[in-house]
């Protein structure tokens, strides 16, 4: 069995090396300008950053921002919807020119892709349901309860590094979900007591579910959010960073935040 596994790994490595060798070091920016089109990935299941409106079209903070960025680059914008977990790999493999989906900077991710300058800064929140009788005064207090989190997110890393590894929160009491909404379902039916997630979508979640309450929010794991760009492509990064700076200076991004986050 081990023999077979090694064989498969070897095959994949050889295949990716062959392909890697053949591609020329050319900026994706040139490709975008030639095609007059930028292909951008997002996971449109994360309101209010990216989600579908009543008509089934993509909308949200990131969507509006990217639409403006493409406009200023002078190219057409083509959206590709993809689950969050696949977006980094898709940029790395050249299937996408860039991805915008509320990405936090992450050292692991930085090894395979680049990050634009931060376009916004977010907070984390702890949510409980109406039957919750405990208390969360400071973030470490959640270690006393059964906690749920979206797997692979910065919140997951924060809980693991600050509570699980030091031995405050038993591993068995941390449930990792593929998606926040799955965690929210378990929170509602009592399988977990506290849900940790990004503060902005949490506000939307709480607005939809009267049983849920935010007991704490603050800048813990999360912080600045960035656009994911192909690794080492300075020309593209310079261009995207320039436009983000321009939009921040003009107050465009603050207007977007008011539009999407203040409801």
């Amino acid at each position: 069995m081990k023999k077979y596994f090694l064989l498969v790994v070897a095959l994949v490595l050889v295949a990716s090396m062959l392909v890697g060798c053949s591609s020329e070091p050319k900026s994706v920016l040139d490709k975008i300008n030639e095609a007059k089109k930028v292909v951008v990935g997002t996971s449109a299941d994360y309101p209010p950053y990216e989600f579908l409106d009543e008509a089934g079209n993509k909308t949200g903070f990131d969507i509006d921002l990217m639409t403006e960025i493409a406009k200023r680059m002078g190219v057409e914008l083509e959206w590709v919807d993809m689950p969050f977990d696949s977006l980094v790999a898709a940029v790395d493999s050249g299937k996408l020119d860039m991805s915008i989906s509320c990405f936090n900077y992450d050292e692991e991710r930085d090894k395979t892709v680049d990050f634009s300058t931060a376009y916004y800064t977010t907070e984390d929140a702890f949510v409980v349901n109406s039957t919750f009788t405990g208390s969360v005064v400071k973030p470490e207090d959640v270690a006393n309860y059964k906690v749920g989190v979206q797997s692979g997110t910065v919140q997951d890393s924060w809980l693991t590094d600050n509570l699980v590894t030091p031995g405050l929160l038993p591993e068995a009491n941390l449930s990792r979900y593929e998606r926040v909404d799955q965690a929210a379902l378990d929170l509602a039916n009592g399988r977990i007591e506290v849900l940790m997630a990004d503060y902005v979508p949490v506000q939307a979640l709480v607005a939809q579910n009267p049983d849920l309450t935010v007991v704490y929010h603050g800048e813990l794991s999360t912080g600045p959010i960035n656009i994911v760009l192909p690794d080492g492509d300075t020309a593209l990064k310079t261009e995207v960073d320039r436009i983000i700076k321009e939009l921040q200076d003009e107050g465009f991004i603050d207007q977007l935040a008011v539009k999407y986050f203040s409801e």
Partner: protein
Amino acid sequence: MDFGQFISYIASGTVYTVGVTLVALPSGLLIGTILALLYVYGGKAAARVMNLYSTVFRGIPPLVLLFILYFAVTKGINLSAFWAGSLSLGIVSSAYQMEIVRGALLSVSGDQLMAARAIGLSRLQAIRYVVLPQAVRLAIPPWSNEAAIVIKDSSLVYALGVPEILRRAQLIGASSQRYLLAYLSAAVIYFLLVFGTTRLLAMLEKKLTIPSNP
């Protein structure tokens, strides 16, 4: 958004689910049948290679193969998510279908092959006209099972962003915050697809049953 729109948004993903299945299942059958014939009738060396193929591809989760094919092997190649997904599932399925066909071929008694050769049919003719028609009948029940698995596994292409049933349920669930309803709708659609397919195959099986006295 009313309930009708909600359901029809998710249901419109059926096109992709059926599309992926219609690529993966027949391509898996074609490859699987050829490989099974090589496995059973191709001698020891071929059998060893086929056994390796079967072990490798039954040992890899389809999702992993999907990622390998889409993000690594076809890096930079313009292979669409739909085709990468369908072909990955087809490859995985071919390994299972090879085992199904192999089992069926082996269940047809070797004497049938001998009797066919005794009247002068070549080995290939004997396999084609005597062994295969009988094997096909034996293969339908396990194949029906595999068809159901492929229909359900087709949901995995959601990971590449193909807007099939599951991905649509996620998207509309997120925007409406009615996740339970979204997933239940998806479950019902998948169930109907699988149920319909297995019923059709059961009818085919009945139709192909060789008459005999009790």
